[in-house]
Symmetry: C2
Subunit: 393 residues, 2 copies
Amino acid sequence: MALNLDKNTNVRMGMDQKSVGLVETKTHTFAKPPNELLLECGRKLGPITIAYETYGKLNDKKSNTILILHALSGDAHAAGYHSYDEEKAGWWDIMIGPGKAFDTNKYFVICSNILGGCKGTTGPMSINPESQKPFGMSFPMITVSDMVNVQKELIDHLGIKKVLCLSGGSLGGMQALQWTISYPDWVEAVIPIATTSRLSAQSLAFNAVGRNAIISDPDWNNGEYFPGKTPAQGLAIARMIGHITYLSPESMHDKFGRRLQEKEQYSYDFVTDFQVESYLHYQGIQFVERFDANTYLYFTKAMDYFDLAGKFGSLERAFEKIKSKYLVISFTSDWLFPAYQSREIVRALIKNGVDVSLCEIKTPYGHDAFLLENEQLTRLISSFLSNLKLKEK
Amino acid sequence: MALNLDKNTNVRMGMDQKSVGLVETKTHTFAKPPNELLLECGRKLGPITIAYETYGKLNDKKSNTILILHALSGDAHAAGYHSYDEEKAGWWDIMIGPGKAFDTNKYFVICSNILGGCKGTTGPMSINPESQKPFGMSFPMITVSDMVNVQKELIDHLGIKKVLCLSGGSLGGMQALQWTISYPDWVEAVIPIATTSRLSAQSLAFNAVGRNAIISDPDWNNGEYFPGKTPAQGLAIARMIGHITYLSPESMHDKFGRRLQEKEQYSYDFVTDFQVESYLHYQGIQFVERFDANTYLYFTKAMDYFDLAGKFGSLERAFEKIKSKYLVISFTSDWLFPAYQSREIVRALIKNGVDVSLCEIKTPYGHDAFLLENEQLTRLISSFLSNLKLKEK
């Protein structure tokens, strides 16, 4: 799948020797009526289309699969480029590629858009077969379990009996945990990063305010957007709130401090004065162009509902049937899903005799650190994976 | 001013022996053209009306004045009741009254609504004499310095030559700091609480998102609200964001955890599931009924602009002319204006030889702790004040 780039025609891509190159998103459709998927909320959904990308080659034994699970704002496009013109590589390109942490010379890497998403997988923007209009709020409530069940369908479809390793950050990490609970025999190893087994009251609160911003945007119109209009203002505000929680106070200070935006003095007006305002504004605008507000509502609700201790009585009991090897990674400056939440996970795993390692990476970059270049993260993952490989021989 | 309550007619008020009783808001108008007040932004404003309340009696020497400075959402009504029917006492009633921390048996306590406010003091809701319409966004940008200058006019008007003590939390604390810089000879002592000499990048960011929510509410209409309509949704969202920052993660956990609101199971719908959502929603709705969105814009901007080190070159230089005695109080769990910011203030005061005490109160209640019943806070203030009294004799 990797492309031999002509450096004369495309210098930017040609310069990255570790890129998987040009990639494309594929789809698989299943759960066609009358075989709809039963969701955790009790409703049925089908047909379901799942959008996914793959990088590297599946080996003959079909034993080298790594399943990447994306977070709130991610999609199936985790690495490489969709075209020569694409400005940015996939969202986890720093980690996926030949010679990278998830080394596509060795592994067959899959990433799929989550159920409820807006990038090819069935979600609230999809056409509801009953009404022949977009689902909007008639889309059923989905949970992390449902997301994982849909991914399992994809794995079955690709003929893979066992995934070598699952990994993802944040909501992706929740899916990783859920996989080892829902399908203990299908997962050799798992690397949940910057995640939690349940949201704190504060995280619930931030999600609630974000949803509120979307829902109170008149253009939201109860999820049925007016022609040519989307609740852009509401979604932008939700994204801005999110962004503050993804960065640490230290990294915000280092990145922006109180520096003014293209001026030397206060404007004494309601235009943008500070760089941090300008940054957030830009993040909000950008997000609106690529993301659907209803998906934001459904994904944050799925995060809110994820509560392993609540569901199983205790975290220890939630992990009773786990057979996968665990590498849990957290970041010291993550205040959205703080490191103590990863330690809770590890303690409960240990009580169940799970083979688990914990690494708290010291970094000022907060929750979003898993998306940034991080040598330590790369080394940890590479070495964890290569140990798995050795055992496999 | 304290009322002898008839317990037969008003049990609720009669039960509180420490209430200042029935109080009323007074006003003073000054800066009438052509003597408008020159603001820091360079524009002039006048006439200016300042709304204020007083509790206790000014002594013959006019030496027992305590000036209370309110925060973002406060007003002049700091203690007692406006009527028998008023459900809630003034915003700092727990601290102001006979026998309380700011003891109205001893002190003459004044609280005024800040310049730019919406509770009687001239602000964006006031009528612009030029247009005969509400100022809206034609109201000049105001700063903490301007707020203090207006308070100084009130003190002069009341014939007070020196204030015994100034105190306030958050934005109120900023005003307290500014008073000792602007009018070093007028302030005997000062108690800034849960405050900062400048906002961090993260706090700037939260303010920016709150303003964005207001400004993108179509009912805001560039500050000229449509008849009978206010940007209620935007202001509610701004308030919800604020509220998250006023509480600590611990106190949110203790208060709400992941408890559901009047249900035992998830609703699998977009109604309110968690108590914390319901609480924030309620806070948002309540606020909208009593507060003006444009004032919210102006106050948060004044907080953003407050930067003593930026203005004077360093915090040490900002405090060069200070003659007041200082008691700086911070809360360990305050993450909006963290305790380290109070320590910065104290270090710079010490370098200037100011008589300063610092107290970091260990509490889980976050930034809002200054508004809550707190025995330690009460004791600290009482004892600080009584020492001042002794010196005065």
